[in-house]
């Protein structure tokens, strides 16, 4: 029956308690009570419906419009904005930059971070372990905006540290306007974001490594397994769950990049550092082409939703616990 208690391990005890609990509830009162229970989730559901889900649906609608904000006229143009997207070279180069971001971040912030975390956790001195983890994390505690501005100045040709450092070690020939030329600007931004983010993922992998039972390592050392083999046969498989999560988080993050590009180059020079987020911003809020911006937003939506669904599917498949 609908109104029976949900089955629980302590069914008997529960039944006994409800039997004593005054006053006995009539089915009707229980029904109202269940409805009243909805009050707990009401604020969350309302806020999400109005400010997260509704705009999402509206965005799909917007992407089919030709929207002139000066006259306020809106004209339905079907999939024309998407057709424009396909023929827009900067859309493709933006997408390419997001992919490059994802690939570099996977190398440094996932694989590099696992190696670094394993090295740090292999240090005997507890104080060194803690200090290194903390120091490496500091760039992640300062915001991407501050880190971005800092690197903007580091790359700056006149006062920047990087060119001066190259000068000092006799490599003046290598000095260049890092953010000012198309060939180096994107890489320069990505390098900054690796600097800012590697400590964060290293910290998380360190936590995951700490959760590995130490007996496993002792057994490995008794068996005479060296540190490199131990890393591949023990550490790597046992932090697999964290690795999976970090891969997803890193890729999703790479397709939402906005802050650092906006602060350092705003997408320039000559649109060479545009990513999907900044290209959306430029079209929507600088050129006021809302329909086209909404179409770019839909692409970001599909990519990030796709990655999230893959994560969900992976989570269902494996639940490794030690």
């Amino acid at each position: 029956m609908l109104l029976t208690q949900q089955s629980r391990p302590v069914e008997g005890a529960t039944a006994a308690i409800t039997a004593v609990a005054p006053p006995p509830r009539t089915p009707r009162r229980r029904g109202t009570r269940r409805l009243l229970g909805l009050a707990w989730i009401l604020p969350a559901v309302v806020v999400l419906a109005v400010f997260v889900y509704l705009p999402l649906v509206q965005n799909l609608g917007f992407s089919t419009l030709e929207w002139d904000i000066y006259s306020g006229s809106q004209e339905f143009i079907g999939l024309d904005n998407y057709a424009k997207l396909v023929g827009d070279p900067i859309f493709w180069s933006s997408l390419g930059n997001n992919v490059l971001y994802a690939v570099v971040s996977l190398v440094f912030q996932v694989f590099g971070a696992i190696v670094l975390a394993a090295i740090i956790e292999g240090i005997r001195s507890d104080r060194w372990r803690r200090s290194l983890r903390a120091i490496y994390f500091v760039p992640s505690a300062i915001s991407l905006t501050v880190a971005g501005l800092l690197f903007y100045f580091i790359y700056e040709p006149n006062l920047g540290m990087l060119n001066s450092a190259l000068d000092a070690i006799g490599l003046s020939a290598w000095a260049q306007p890092w953010l000012g030329q198309e060939s180096t600007a994107m890489i320069a931004i990505i390098v900054m974001s690796q600097w800012q983010g590697f400590g964060y993922s290293t910290l998380l992998f360190a936590v995951a490594i700490q959760r590995i039972p130490s007996e496993l390592y002792e057994a490995a050392s008794i068996d005479g397994i060296g540190p490199i083999r131990r890393f591949f046969t023990l550490t790597l498989p046992l932090v697999r769950e964290m690795t999976g999560l970090m891969v997803i988080v890193t890729i999703t993050g790479a397709f939402q990049v906005f802050n650092e590009v906006m602060v350092m180059t705003s997408g320039g020079p000559n649109n060479s550092t545009q990513v999907l987020g900044t290209w959306l911003y430029r079209n929507g809020f600088v050129r006021n082409d809302f329909g086209y911006a909404a179409a770019i937003a839909t692409v970001i939506f599909i990519i990030t939703l796709g990655i999230a669904l893959v994560q969900l599917w992976l989570n269902r498949r494996r639940r490794v616990e030690w």
Binding site: L35, Q58, A134, L159, F301
Partner: protein, 278 residues
């Protein structure tokens, strides 16, 4: 455990430590440079980027403070505190409703609330701007409070829910026998039991709200409603040639979270691990 050090072992160890310490320099040096530049004069910055400041010049900090940073800081604190409170309460209520109250269509509601986790804020940007302009909330403190709360509810609820679901059932039943209302049971019993995860979600939310840039940049323009991340870029475009002041502003913006991290490192690390590990 004593290991015999072979020659190769020593070399490997020297190599690893050199690498680790180089990495420390790579991290610490730019940060030190930023702090030092906040004390220099413009001429010194252009002169020799590696030199120490001639004198410790606090004027840049006062200048930055007076040119808007005090406003940005106030807004940042206000937005961070209010949105943390709103997000944590709304999410804790939702988590309670989804895990410990018998409500109709419980699974559907869970999907709706947690499904928000998969949606990127960028996607809703254009319609949100239209909506907030229509409601007269564009370029106000409320826009940021609402957005920071709305877009963090799914994540925060997800974490609190995962914790609440593991609390024993008997707790609620005991409360009911004692005649406690659901409301009392939540505030007096369940919420206090969730303390560890609440601390984690507070830290994660502070880190988010303090550093958020996209919404802050798109939804605010005036000095009196801008938060630090956006304020810094305005400071930069307005006084871009006065570099030491910009550096001083950057230090002021970075310091609170760095201090928070070192002051409660244990909670911080646990919070980050909870945030990703669940």
């Amino acid at each position: 455990m004593v290991t015999r050090l072979s020659f190769a072992g020593v070399i490997a160890r020297v190599f690893i430590w050199t690498f680790l310490l180089c990495l420390v320099v790579v991290v610490v040096y730019p940060l030190t440079w930023m702090v030092l530049n906040g004390f220099k004069t413009n001429t010194e910055i252009f002169g020799n980027p590696f030199a120490l400041p001639m004198q410790w010049n606090w004027d840049n900090y006062t200048a930055a403070w007076n040119r808007g940073v005090s406003n940005y800081l106030t807004t940042s604190i206000l937005v961070t505190v209010t949105s943390t409170i709103a997000t944590v309460f709304i999410s804790a209520w939702a988590a309670y409703g989804l895990t410990r109250v018998d409500i109709p269509l419980s699974r559907t509601w869970s999907t709706i609330v947690l499904g928000g986790l998969m949606l990127a804020p960028t996607v809703a940007l254009v319609p949100l701007v239209k909506m907030f302009q229509g409601m007269g909330l564009y370029n106000t403190f409320w826009a940021l409070l609402i957005l920071y709360t709305a877009f963090r509810i799914p994540f925060t609820t997800f974490l609190i829910r995962a914790y609440m679901i593991d609390l024993p059932r008997e707790v609620d039943e005991a409360a009911e026998v004692d005649g406690a209302s659901r409301w009392t049971a939540f505030w007096r019993i369940i919420l206090p039991m969730c303390r560890p995860i609440i601390i984690s979600v507070i830290i994660l939310h502070i880190l988010f709200a303090w550093n958020e840039y996209l919404f802050a940049m798109v939804f605010t323009s005036g000095t009196d409603v801008q938060t630090l991340p956006v304020g810094l870029t305005s400071l930069m475009s307005k006084h871009g040639t006065d570099y030491p002041v910009v550096f001083a502003g950057m230090v002021i913006a970075a310091l609170p979270v760095v201090i928070l991290f070192f002051a409660c490192q244990r909670y911080f690390i646990k919070g980050l691990a909870d945030g990703i590990g669940k």
